[in-house]
Amino acid sequence: MRTLVVVGHGMVAHHLIETMRDRRLLRRWRVVVFGEEPRRAYDRVALSSLFADLEPADLTLDRDVAATEASGVEIVSGDAVVSIDRDARTVATASGREVAYDAAVLATGSYPFVPPVPGTDLPGVFTYRTVDDVDAMKAWAARPGVDRGAVLGGGLLGLEAAQALLSLGLETAVVEFAPRLMPQQVDEGGGAVLAGLVSALGPTVHTGAATEEIVAGGDGCVASLRLSDGSAVDAGMVVVAAGIRPRDGLARSAGLEIADRGGVVVDAGCTTSDPCVYAIGECAHAAGRTWGLVAPGYRMAEVVADRLAGGDATFAAVELNTKLKLLGVDVASIGSVQSATHPPGAEELTYADPLSGVYKKLVLSADGTRLHGAVLVGDATGYGALCQMLAGTMPVPERPESLILPGGDDGATIGVTSLADEAVICSCHGVTKAMLCTAIDGGAICEIGELKAATKAATGCGGCAPLVADVLHAELDAAGIERTDAMCEHFEHSRQELFDIVRTEGIATFADLLARHGHGRGCEVCRPAVASIFASLGVASHVLDGEHAALQDTNDHFLANIQKDGTYSVVPRIPGGEIAPEKLIVLGEVARDFGLYTKITGGQRVDLFGARVDQLPAIWQRLIDAGFESGHAYAKALRTVKSCVGSTWCRYGVQDSVTLAIDIELRYRGLRAPHKIKGAVAGCTRDCSEAKIKDFGVIATDAGWSLYVCGNGGMVPRVATLFAEDLDRDTLLTYLDRFLMFYVRTADRLERTATWFAKRPGGIEELRRILVDDELGICSQLEAEMERHVDSYRCEWRAALEDPSTAARFVSFVNAPDAVDPEVVFVPERGQIRPARPEERFLSGPTVEVELS
């Protein structure tokens, strides 16, 4: 086994690891990766979303660390490589580790270029490249008195930084040395429209202005910028975004060849002047230049993977097409943009509407049949099609001006069907139309999510997503398959559509819904989904009423949770986790009398395990007589609202969290939803009840309650997002009513609030507009639906026991109601029962007396 050392764990390095894994190279290569940053590779392109509501963990590129490790890749974070000894073929790291290599890959990326202006070293001056930079910027902006910010540089990165400052609540100025914003991506006309759009959104724009000095205030921290025209811009915080430079220092000191203007020189195989050392990504000078975008870096990673496999792939110059949404403004640039770089004889076609803020330009060959470049500002529809035309894989329409005129042909009508098979649809991952079609395989894949997973298309910058979807739809149409978000073979609708159908058409039975809108008999996917819709809408007065009983999966059917051995567990509701001693004693007595295993759950309540179907009614009769009710642990419904003791007992508590948790749990108990819903209330910011990882979490403040939404623990933990602060109790409940009902109405089946939220493009701002500002005018409906739920709530177990026919269903054997299931075998452990393992079943026989001490 040979050893590959990778220097840097950024986006491109990680792509190399993934490509090597996909190509099964990890069997032949042991890979050791050193990253200087304290965390594993993350999606740097999406760095700005950390100013919205994503957390660094959301950006990680190594989603399955265990799998990476198991595949033989060792990733060391927070340890930079400080030297390379090319003769000995070893690298040495800051922590003192030395590793010998057979081949090494430099993937050290770039560093932010800081122009030689006095004052860039003042406290309050930042660069913008890493998660740590984001943290530092956030912390500085939170300092009292910091209410204005300035960005040095009006390019792509500068505008991203401006957006970040705005979102931190600062008044923001952008200073650009060139005569227009985004000088690399747009031409003069586009720059003018862009400047208008950007200033309308808040930032003041100074173009054609050089910064002469960053000036300190009395406290020694940054206070203003002095510009070349003599004017001053006040700023308590400055972000320098004046470009990037390749990080070639390590290569330089190792004596590798470096390009005049920086960058590690590599040949077409991405090999440096040392045949054992490769360089990829932003640190490399490849095909005659450095490449400051992620897609070319990914291509280089693939070339190196191929070389390590013994292949001879080469890297060739690529088009630097970009499409961005900056400050909400679409900007796209394709191929040749500045007239100086146009091929001879090229013609420009321009459409500009400064009033509505749209600028579009096409660069065409004299005969109008070839596209050389395009600029789109304010409206980037047609970007995907234009990229295809530039590559020559889609024909330019006969009247090209229709591509940019309002109401014209945005390329979509040409249709993906006219795309050549070799057309690259996703340039981040090099996925062609043919590769997509092979994966779709006439309908083997019908869903965009599956297609993304299978091909990686649209998982990079995301710019190609609409085109990927178009290819999918076209292929499915050709195969005669209709919908992509169909719930299952019986309904061509999504859950949300079925919810709306049931609600507006007043459908009350599954048979009716199937007859009017579906096919076949239904299945284990659509039946419970429709059952949940009926329950959410209050169509069925009891989940086991009539035909509804046949829709419930076994947990809802027996109102208990099935366990691995076919027995059930019993979970009575213990609102807020508060329980009086008398009730606790009843739980103990019931467990003892029925021989059940007893455990405190992670949801602050008690679970009794090992009940046979035929024991459930008697167990519940005892519990209900003692004042308990169903805990709905078996249902996709509200589970628990955890609490901490709060101000009643705790020396730090500022509000009565227990009372509120109980009130909330009782308000929403029994609410059926697309997935389970968990809540928590905490009495102070210490958050002992973990409210920040719940679907909804309420945390006490001095002035009231803060509401957090859309978090969860579980498989992919997500910290909840702050929805509103310092609410009084009534407003809090109103917002919660609206939030929960809106989720119930619109989420897909088995989609927790966090997943649902992640799919909503508008983020928390949009949720606030809908649920606080009532932008859609539905708040009163949502509240009324919740009110109906609250008023009609009945304990399902109580109702089941009152109905003799329901209770009669709880037998193990329909023809021997008194027989005990002989397959249920327990053995003792720590004074309680547990299911017998297969090898124990025969030894222990059908019944085991459990001795309880």
Binding site: E489, H490, A511, G520, R521, G522, C523, E524, C526, R527, P528, E547, A549, A550, L551, D553, T554, N555, H557, F558, I562, K564, D565, G566, S812, F813, V814, N815, A816, A819, D821, E823, P838
Partner: protein, 117 residues
Amino acid sequence: MTQTLTRMPESTWVDVCPLGRLLPDRGVCALVGGTQVAVFRTSGDALYAVSNWDPFGRAPVISRGLVGSVGVEPKVASPLLKHTFSLETGMCFEEPSVALDVYDVRVHDGMVQVSTA
């Protein structure tokens, strides 16, 4: 009602329950000799009987699964690990090499009966 099989000797039929006790698209479990048999009545009013033992989940639970269809073929989904099985042939759709045992079932004088002979 579809399957009335007369070639069986009468003595091998075991009573399960009156037909009216079966909910459409829902199963029950019957003890037939020492064998647990899952019996289903579908909404089309056909009857099916398969073994109650889930070979993947290794527990007697098939009778508590959800009934549905694949194309025109009726199926049941195990409540444990959600494998689906044809009610007609017992074959597991995810793992076609595995199948549930299939038994004869009929209605006789209003009584559902199963034969494991």
